[in-house]
């Protein structure tokens, strides 16, 4: 709530020094202003779709990479370490460029901007997800494994019904952070032409020459989305905890 008051007063303060500002570009009372605004907000759909798809995939890959990292077998652990170290070392922007321009050539396939973005974001995030899952699973008491063994659960049932539900509750704040991080990183996909928030702002700046106003809107867009997502994650966290306590 406080955050929204802050945003409101911030934008008021900014509009106060109107001499240097040209808010007309996004004035909803005028036709161009309204269509400019619609154009800018229209990117939100792609930003969200891109981030949510990418995080879904990266959480899945992350979990699959985390599991061999918990094995007693050092070769399995080696697979985990190698993946995490390599993927973590590549900058996201570089990965985006490589997946979009490079991958189609070696794999001889065509790839859309959207899927190139999703793959690059998901891959680069998956290494962090893997580390988060590994730490979360390792934090579960060994008595839980022993109890699961003692009632003869299979490995899959034990992970699915005993270990992961508890681990996920613990790592929920960290997963929420990754989603926020992903929303921010999705702006990088603008470089290959994805029509998300940042790309649209860039395009409008080129035609309208009002970078200050347009990028201010862009900042506010990210701010609102991310504050809402953070609040959502906190609510979920709270609900899952009270699940166990009440």
């Amino acid at each position: 709530m406080k955050a929204f008051l802050l945003i409101a007063s911030l934008s008021l303060a900014l509009s106060g020094c109107s001499a240097n500002w040209g808010w007309y570009v996004v004035n909803p009372a005028t036709d161009t202003g309204l269509s400019n605004l619609k154009f800018l907000f229209g990117g939100l759909y792609y930003t969200l779709l891109l981030s949510v798809t990418a995080i879904g995939i990266s959480v899945t890959i992350g979990l699959l990479i985390a599991l061999p990292g918990l094995s007693h077998n050092r070769y399995f652990r080696g697979i985990n370490r190698t993946y995490v170290e390599i993927v973590r070392a590549v900058p996201i922007l570089v990965l985006i460029l490589w997946v979009y321009y490079g991958l189609p050539q070696i794999a001889n396939l065509s790839i859309t901007v959207f899927w190139a973005g999703v793959i690059a974001l998901a891959l680069s995030d998956s290494a962090f997800e893997a580390e988060i899952f590994r730490a979360g699973i390792q934090s579960i008491d060994k008595g839980q494994y022993e109890a699961a063994h003692s009632i003869s659960l299979s490995y899959t049932d034990m992970m699915r019904h005993v270990i992961l539900p508890q681990a996920i509750r613990r790592i929920l704040p960290a997963l929420g952070n990754q989603l926020v991080y992903m929303l921010k990183m999705s702006s990088l996909v603008s470089v290959i032409g994805m029509q998300e928030l940042t790309r649209r702002a860039n395009e409008l700046v080129v035609t309208e020459y009002r970078p200050l106003e347009i990028y201010t809107i862009l900042v506010l867009e990210y701010l609102v989305v991310i504050l809402l997502v953070s609040a959502g994650v906190r609510w979920l966290e709270h609900r899952m905890q009270s699940d166990q306590r009440q």
């Binding site: 063994h149 003692s150 009632i151 003869s152 659960l153 299979s154 019904h161 539900p165 508890q166 166990q244």
Partner: protein, 249 residues
């Protein structure tokens, strides 16, 4: 050979090392069906290690363990066959904190015994009745007292309908006023003919329930005797010392 002379658990010259440390040294023990064994001994003597070897939570290094005719060789199939016949109750209860009491009880029947939801639920309610907390079915473990949690843990094991139950100091994490409610449930279980191996220092319970007392020290079974013999005239010096210490208070 007739069936009743076959031990249901046969432990033969079992050794277990942790690094350089010998936790079990050539331990042999034959337990017949329906027998109630109480294992005691000083801290670090290998009691937990021994019973954890019986359901494969620890992997023995040498020797043989036969449970209900199944050789524990740590293949997935022998482990799951043995574990579905052997229940275990832990000192720290180890209930699943994210599941309600009834869900804790139903998990094994549903997933490893593949019972239907209805059958699993009925079974769980029956055993909750047996441990005298049917009214707590929908609570979460942390809402229960320690004694209640341990009774839930016993019921969870019983829902697998095992022929053998292992108890590793089931009352030593409990406040004194809750110990009896758990021992009571265990004594009732003993009366049903369940094969039981209990690690405990509750000597009143041992006298009342045990068919055989086992005393361990330094990874060895030092003495195996009936309770009368064990408490009145233990043959080894170490055992006498131990009994003097714990029976003083």
């Amino acid at each position: 050979m007739p069936d009743n002379t076959q031990p249901i658990i046969n432990i033969d010259k079992v050794c277990k090392r942790f690094g350089d440390f010998n936790a079990l040294k050539d331990v042999s023990l034959r337990i017949s069906s329906g027998e109630r064994i109480v294992v005691c001994g000083p801290s670090g003597s290998g009691k937990s290690t021994l019973i954890r070897c019986i359901n494969g939570l620890e992997r023995h290094d040498s020797g043989k363990i036969l449970v209900d005719g199944i050789a524990l060789d740590h293949s997935a199939s022998s482990l799951s066959a043995v574990r579905s016949r052997v229940g275990m109750v832990f000192q720290q209860f180890n209930l699943f904190p994210h599941l309600t009491v009834i869900e804790n009880l139903m998990l094994g029947p549903l997933k490893s015994r593949k019972l239907s939801r209805e059958a699993a639920r009925q079974l769980a309610l029956n055993y909750l009745e047996r441990v005298r907390i049917p009214e707590q079915a929908d609570k979460y473990p942390r809402q229960l007292s320690g004694g209640q949690q341990q009774r839930v843990a016993i019921a969870r094991s019983l829902c697998m309908e095992p022929g053998i139950m292992l108890f590793d100091e089931p009352t030593s994490a409990l406040d004194p006023e809750m110990i009896n409610e758990v021992l009571e449930v265990m004594a009732e279980l003993a009366a049903t003919g369940m094969t039981m191996i209990c690690v405990t220092h509750e000597m009143g319970f041992a006298r009342r329930v045990a068919d055989t007392m086992v005393f361990m020290d330094h990874g060895e079974v030092v003495e195996t005797a009936s309770p009368e013999h064990f408490f009145t005239s233990p043959s080894s010096e170490r055992c006498r010392d131990f009994l003097n210490k714990i029976l003083q208070h």
